[in-house]
């Protein structure tokens, strides 16, 4: 018990990893359950953020080099591109079908 309290008192690599793991599970939950396409996108953003925390935590605690941070920059770049494209698609779908419920969107044409 005392050992656990001491562990809690000194945040290290494991603490960051555990927070990111829980954040990742939240994102997976949002992707699995939400019907609104934009909520699914928010879940994906949470997942990407959790992955980024891992990259940077390992960069800090494991090797001491900046390679993890460079990878994190690429993840952020891809997240920005993904968000722009996905929202353009969602807006177009809304114009055509008047809904963004992913359960109802089962065809590609009007």
């Amino acid at each position: 018990m005392q050992e656990f309290l001491n562990w809690l008192r000194t945040p290290g690599l494991t603490h960051f990893l555990i927070v990111s793991g829980i954040l990742f599970s939240f994102g997976v939950f949002a992707v699995l359950t939400r019907r609104n396409a934009i909520m699914v996108l928010m879940g994906i953003e949470l997942i990407l953020n959790a992955a980024n925390i891992n990259f940077i935590a390992f960069s800090r605690y494991s090797t001491g080099t900046l390679d993890g941070q460079v990878i994190a920059i690429f993840v952020i770049i891809l997240a920005a591109a993904e968000a722009a494209i996905a929202l353009a698609i969602v807006l177009n779908i809304y114009q055509n079908f008047n809904t963004v419920n992913v359960d109802e969107l089962n065809r590609l044409r009007d």
Binding site: G21, S25, L32, I38, L41, L46, R60, Y61, A84, N92
Partner: protein, 167 residues
Amino acid sequence: MDLFTIIFYAFAFLALGAGAVVVFSKNIVHAAFALLFAFFAVAGFYVLLMADFLAITQLMIYVGGILVLVIFGVMLTSNVISVDMKTGTVQAMPAVLLSAALAGMLVGMFWSTDWNASSQHAMPETTGKSLGTMLLTTYVLPFEIASVVLLVALVGAAMIARREKKE
């Protein structure tokens, strides 16, 4: 309890609390605004991990860019006045089980693995210069590909979003 510990737990509670609101809130506008705090807390983590450039990037791209896009998406695809803003969930029970199992597995693995971690590595005082050097030497090919990807995404998003409905 040193300052690092206090700030870490503050940001950890902010990130997990905001993440929970994003996931469990029925109102999509509340979820979008909770996402703001989640991104902010993650930026705080980056500062704690001595990634100052990444922290600013996170604030500028996620909070300033992606979140604004998401909120635009929410506002443009929902009828603000009606109660249609609410968004339901499907298959809640299997998803809860699956996500809880995933979280338990991840946390258990992170807990039980000996990462051979050390906080003694000397990190540069500021990371901007080193990151710029690495992007233009070791990582120059992914850097160039990323620039092409961004250009394609920009053109594609503009084209998809502006396409007019044929009558």
